[in-house]
C-alpha cells in the first residue's frame, strides 16, 4: 500500500525535521536511496523547482516527491503526512511551549538539535553540490553566486532567476 507508506515516511520527516524546509532534504535523499520512488537527479530538480516557485520549500518538495511517487493523491498524502505532526503538537502543546520555551531544559534540548540540524543541511548541500557541480563552468557559477549572495542580501529568488538566465546565456 504505497499511500500508507508514503504517509508514514512523510509523517516521520514532519516529526523529526527541526529547523524548517531545508532540513527535510537529507530525509528525501535517504528516501531516494532506500526506496525506488525517485532518483537523486530528480530530487535535485525538485529542489530547484521548489526554490523557484511560491510556497514554503518543504511543502513544495513534499508535494513534488509525493506526485512523482504516486500522482496527485500521492502529493496530497505526502503533504498531509509532513504537516500533521507539527499540527498535532501545536494544537496540544502550544500553551506549554509558550510557558516553557525560555526554560533551560528546553533550551538545552534545542541547543543539541540545532547543530545536528545544521549538519543535516550541510550534508544536503554536499549531496546537491556533487550532483550539480559537474565541471569547471558549474563550479565557477556556484562560486560566483555564493559570493553574490554572501555580499548582497537579496531574496534567494533573485539568484534563482539569475541562475536560470545565466544557465541559458552561458549554456551551463
Amino acid at each position: 500500500m504505497i499511500y500508507l507508506l508514503l504517509f508514514a515516511e512523510f509523517f516521520k520527516i514532519g516529526a523529526l525535521a527541526f529547523g524548517g524546509g531545508m532540513v527535510t532534504v537529507p530525509f528525501l535523499i535517504e528516501l531516494s536511496k532506500t526506496k525506488n520512488w525517485f532518483s537523486l537527479e530528480q530530487l535535485a530538480d525538485m529542489i530547484a523547482i521548489s526554490e523557484s516557485t511560491p510556497g514554503p520549500i518543504g511543502i513544495n518538495m513534499a508535494t513534488f516527491a509525493g506526485f512523482v511517487t504516486s500522482g496527485v493523491f500521492g502529493s496530497l498524502v505526502a503533504t498531509f503526512g509532513l504537516v500533521l505532526p507539527a499540527f498535532l503538537v501545536l494544537l496540544l502543546f502550544s500553551k506549554y511551549i509558550i510557558k516553557y520555551k525560555d526554560t533551560s531544559v528546553f533550551n538545552n534540548f534545542l541547543s543539541g538539535i540545532r547543530p545536528a540540524a545544521l549538519a543535516l543541511i550541510l550534508y544536503a548541500g554536499i549531496v546537491i553540490a556533487k550532483l550539480s557541480i559537474v565541471d569547471l563552468k558549474t563550479g565557477l557559477f556556484a562560486l560566483l553566486f555564493f559570493i553574490l549572495i554572501y555580499f548582497c542580501k537579496f531574496s534567494p529568488i533573485v539568484f534563482i532567476v539569475l541562475g536560470a538566465i545565466c544557465g541559458v546565456i552561458f549554456e551551463i
Binding site: 516521520k12 514532519g14 523529526l16 525535521a17 524548517g20 531545508m22 530538480d45 530547484a48 523547482i49 526554490e51 523557484s52 516557485t53 511560491p54 510556497g55 514554503p56 520549500i57 511543502i59 508535494t63 513534488f64 506526485f67 512523482v68 502529493s75 503533504t79 509532513l82 507539527a86 501545536l90 511551549i97 520555551k101 531544559v105 528546553f106 538545552n108 534540548f109 541547543s111 543539541g112 538539535i113 540545532r114 547543530p115 545544521l118 543535516l120 543541511i121 550541510l122 548541500g125 554536499i126 546537491i128 550539480s132 557541480i133 557559477f141 553566486f145 555564493f146 549572495i149 531574496s155 534567494p156 529568488i157 539568484f159 534563482i160 541562475g163 536560470a164 545565466c166 544557465g167 541559458v168
Partner: protein
C-alpha cells in the same frame, strides 16, 4: 464560518507570495496580520515565530497553525494550515505533471543547471547564517562534527542524527545539574 474562510484566504495569499523559507514569510505576515488585519500584535507574531521554529516541521506552516489556533481554536488552525499549503499543492502538481514533457528541451536543461548552481550557493549561505546564529560553544561544534561524520562517513539515517542531537542536548542539561549539585 466566515472567519474560517477569511483565515483560509489570508493564509493562501501568504502561501502564494512566499518564496523560499519561513523567514521570508515574516515580512508578509507582519504586513497582513499585524498592520492590515490587526488580528495579532507584533509581539504575538514574534512569539509565534519563536514557537514555530522550535517545533518540528515547516516553520511557515507552523506559524500559520498557531495564528489560526489563536484566532479560532482547532478549526482556525486547520483553516490557516490548509490555506498556507493550498497554493503550493496546486502549483507544484501542475508543474510536476507538465515538466516531464520539457525535460529534454535544451533550454530547460540549461535553466535547471543554472538554478542548481544557485541552489548550492543558497544552501551554503544558509549554513553560514545558521552557524552564526546558533552555534555558540565548543560542545555544539562537537555535536555538529559528530553529526557530519555520522552522515558522511557512516551513512547514518537523518532521523537518528536528530535523535542523537536531542539526547546530547539533554545530556548538557544533565551535566549542568550535576555541576550545580556539586557546588
Amino acid at each position: 464560518m466566515k472567519e474560517l474562510i477569511r483565515l483560509f484566504v489570508v493564509f493562501a495569499k501568504i502561501g502564494l507570495f512566499t518564496f523560499g523559507g519561513g523567514a521570508a514569510m515574516m515580512a508578509l505576515l507582519h504586513d497582513e496580520l499585524v498592520k492590515k488585519k490587526k488580528w495579532i500584535t507584533e509581539q504575538d507574531l514574534l512569539d509565534f515565530f519563536a514557537i514555530a521554529q522550535c517545533t518540528p516541521g515547516i516553520i511557515a506552516v507552523n506559524t500559520a497553525t498557531i495564528v489560526g489556533y489563536k484566532m479560532k481554536k482547532s478549526f482556525g488552525a486547520a483553516a490557516a494550515t490548509v490555506g498556507v499549503v493550498f497554493p503550493s499543492i496546486v502549483i507544484i502538481v501542475l508543474i510536476a505533471a507538465m515538466i516531464q514533457n520539457f525535460m529534454d528541451n535544451q533550454y530547460i536543461v540549461h535553466i535547471f543547471n543554472g538554478i542548481r548552481a544557485a541552489v548550492v550557493a543558497i544552501i551554503a549561505n544558509v549554513v553560514i547564517a545558521l552557524w552564526r546564529k546558533n552555534i555558540k560553544n565548543y560542545w555544539q561544534i562537537l555535536i555538529f562534527v559528530f553529526s557530519m561524520v555520522c552522515l558522511l562517513c557512516f551513512s547514518v539515517s537523518p532521523a537518528i542524527v536528530v535523535v542523537f542531537g536531542c539526547l546530547l542536548g539533554l545530556f548538557t542539561q544533565f551535566m549542568l545539574l550535576v555541576k550545580d549539585r556539586s557546588k
